[in-house]
């Protein structure tokens, strides 16, 4: 806490309720709220799972990783590493046009970071009407750091299953013109989900999860 506070990354607002402080993608955000947790997934080859006859929660269809190669203490202003990781991931995921994935974005409330994420997503996601909905679970969970992308993967599996995207709460004045899932959960078919992760040090990774249709 001391480190994050002294580096200016921790949200400092005391004029709102604690639950309203974590505001990724919002103009009012002043930093992240630190969180904690763990999420674990079991992966199997499809044949292995079919042979066991187990329930398949989703298919992991793509992965890409990259680095900003920019600065240890701040993200590249246009999210260069994240854009590259997402592009690599989408290129490899073999999704069809009908499977445009909903996006679990790594925005955490640190203004420079959120702008980098928004810039990267704006560049690499399809334009216009086919632009997918974007949500940031760190608004609800806080920033669980090394656990965050795994937690988003579990959320993505549930979103695909339930056809419902969790909201980005506390998002009233978006920093970018993107189709955010603001305020309330969105009831929508989620054939696939993109989980994007972006760490200090410029580390970026992206995963695509897809509904398993047999």
């Amino acid at each position: 806490m001391l480190r994050y506070r002294a580096l200016g990354w921790l949200a400092t607002r005391d004029d709102v309720e604690p639950a309203e402080v974590s505001a990724p993608f919002d103009e009012s955000a002043t930093g992240f709220v630190t969180g904690e947790g763990a999420a674990v997934l079991v992966l199997e080859s499809l044949d292995h799972a079919l042979a066991r006859g187990v329930r398949i929660h989703a298919e992991l269809a793509g992965y890409g990783a990259a680095n900003d190669a920019y600065d240890f203490m701040r993200p590249h202003p246009e999210g260069r590493g994240l854009a590259r990781a997402v592009s690599r991931c989408l290129d490899r995921s073999g999704l069809t046009m009908e499977e445009t994935p909903a996006v679990f974005a790594p925005a955490n409330g640190v203004p420079a970071f959120d702008r980098a994420v928004a810039s990267a997503l704006d560049r690499v996601l399809p334009p216009g009407a086919s632009r997918p909905p974007i949500t940031a679970t760190r608004s609800v969970l806080g920033h669980t750091h090394a656990a965050s992308a795994a937690l988003d993967c579990v959320a993505a599996v549930s979103a695909i299953h339930d056809s419902r995207l969790p909201p980005t709460i506390n998002l009233r004045r978006p920093i970018a013109d993107l189709p955010f899932v603001a305020g309330e959960a969105l009831e929508t078919d989620v054939p696939a989900a993109l989980v994007a992760a972006y760490g200090f040090g410029g580390h970026a990774a992206a995963l695509v999860l897809r509904r398993y249709a047999g």
């Binding site: 806490m1 001391l2 480190r3 994050y4 506070r5 002294a6 580096l7 200016g8 990783a65 990259a66 680095n67 900003d68 190669a69 920019y70 600065d71 240890f72 203490m73 701040r74 260069r80 590493g81 590259r84 760490g199 200090f200 040090g201 410029g202 580390h203």
Partner: protein
């Protein structure tokens, strides 16, 4: 069909000297890098010997800034990161790639652990907040003028800092990953980078590892675990793998860096190839955090997987660089693993532990030892296990005692086993003209 992987650059920071040539000279002459700890007053510690890097200045090897600046704060980089920057620069220059734009598409896999903490800074910051009241007065701590300095220092201690700084320095925008598998970390990093090239994910990778676990808390911690040799009065004789009178390992430090390239990529640009990386195997003991599985099943599995990966039989292995820490447990278990994985061939293959000279550089050890193997292949000379005076009766292999040996061989194995049961084996082949 797997793509072939060439080693085209090497860089070394070690207690035997910096640069591959000095390192190799020390290894082949059987010199010990172990001495009394000189960087701080260690006289009050139960163990006060280590293999320290001496006379190191980053500016001798790289124009990378030794001070990191952000938001008006200036923090001197920890030794681990300085060693990483120096070794990487040597490797990149050796490969002739210091200005190559193709680093943008390269990958970086690096083995590391936490940085070596600035204890003076830490104690200055925390002293007013120590007992009698437990806990910490955060507002008061934050009000201090050096809180920002401490925060930046703390951030730079992150295990991922060396890889991030290397990525920024060379413009490596591909996959940049830090391997944290303790004593096996840099061997794992090399293996993972190799797999990426084999699979066609990249044509060029920077890899290796750096660590400097020679500070007072490191020495004290490992001493309390009874893992270290307490031969304080005879430092050069303290690291004695496979010797009957060994009593633990000696902490070391340093960095090893390698440039890996897809074979035709290296050939096309006319790069000199040191050796070919042909096998990688990794397996876990799934046993206990601080002990090796007594029958060394995980270690044997890693060796067997590396042989499978390289598609070579045990009889093709001409030299083994052992993990060989000089602990009672490791050296017996590793010997058992070699018997288990290699069968009858184990009896005739020279096996040496260069940790007898370098001490144990923890996350940097695997890369440093792989570099020793590459140089051994080049010169057809096997480095010795020094201080091997009376062989442990339960260690019954040819450990190349005390003197380097001329030896004709073309394929070699390097073992790295980590706390946590993490086992990695790598196989290298001589690039025949």
């Amino acid at each position: 069909m797997k793509r072939r992987v060439a080693i085209t650059g090497l860089g070394v920071v070690s207690p035997l000297g910096n640069g591959a040539a000095k390192y190799w000279d020390g290894l082949t002459h059987g010199r010990s890098g172990v001495g009394q700890i000189g960087r701080y007053d260690a006289s009050g510690l139960p163990v006060h010997i280590a293999a320290e890097v001496r006379g190191f200045a980053l500016t001798d090897y790289s124009d990378a800034p030794v001070v990191f600046e952000a938001d008006g704060e200036r923090v001197t980089l920890d030794l681990r990161t300085q060693y990483a920057l120096a070794a990487a620069e040597m490797a990149v220059r050796a490969a002739g790639l210091e200005r190559a734009e193709e680093w943008a598409d390269a990958d970086l896999y690096f083995g590391a652990g936490e940085g070596d903490n600035d204890l003076a800074l830490l104690s200055r910051l925390l002293t007013p907040f120590s007992c009698p009241e437990p806990g910490c007065d955060v507002p008061r701590l934050l009000a201090r003028s050096d809180a920002g300095h401490f925060a930046l220092h703390d951030q730079l201690m992150e295990p991922t800092a060396p890889a991030s700084l290397l990525a920024a320095r060379y413009g490596i925008e591909g996959e940049v990953t830090t391997c944290l598998t303790a004593c096996a970390a840099s061997a794992q990093a090399v293996g993972e980078a190799m797999r990426r090239i084999q699979a066609g994910e990249c044509d060029l990778a920077l890899t290796g590892g750096a660590h400097a676990m020679t500070g007072p808390l490191d020495v004290l911690g490992f001493a309390m675990l009874s893992a270290l040799s307490s031969r304080n009065d005879a430092p050069a004789r303290a690291s004695r793998p496979f010797d009957r009178h060994r009593d633990g390992f000696v902490l070391g430090e340093g960095a090893g860096a390698l440039v890996l390239e897809e074979w035709s990529h290296a050939r096309r640009r006319g790069a000199a190839v040191y050796a070919e990386l042909v096998g990688y195997g990794t397996a876990n003991d799934a046993y206990r955090v601080t002990d090796m599985e007594p029958e060394a099943r995980g270690a044997a599995a890693a060796i067997a997987r590396a042989l499978d990966d390289a598609a070579v039989g045990p009889e093709r292995i001409g030299y083994i660089n052992a993990h060989g820490t000089s602990t009672l447990e490791n050296d017996r278990a590793e010997t058992a693993a070699l018997h288990r994985a290699l069968g009858d061939a184990a009896r005739t293959i020279p096996v040496s532990s260069t940790k007898s000279m370098t001490g144990h550089a923890v996350a940097a050890a695997g890369a440093l030892e792989l570099i020793a193997v590459v140089l051994a292949l080049r010169d057809q000379v096997v480095p010795p296990t020094i201080n091997l005076e009376t062989r442990d009766p339960e260690c019954d292999l040819d450990y190349v005692p005390n003197a380097a040996r001329a030896h004709a061989f073309d394929t070699a194995l390097s073992n790295s086993f980590g706390f946590g049961g993490q086992n990695v084996s790598l196989i290298v082949r001589r690039d025949r003209p």
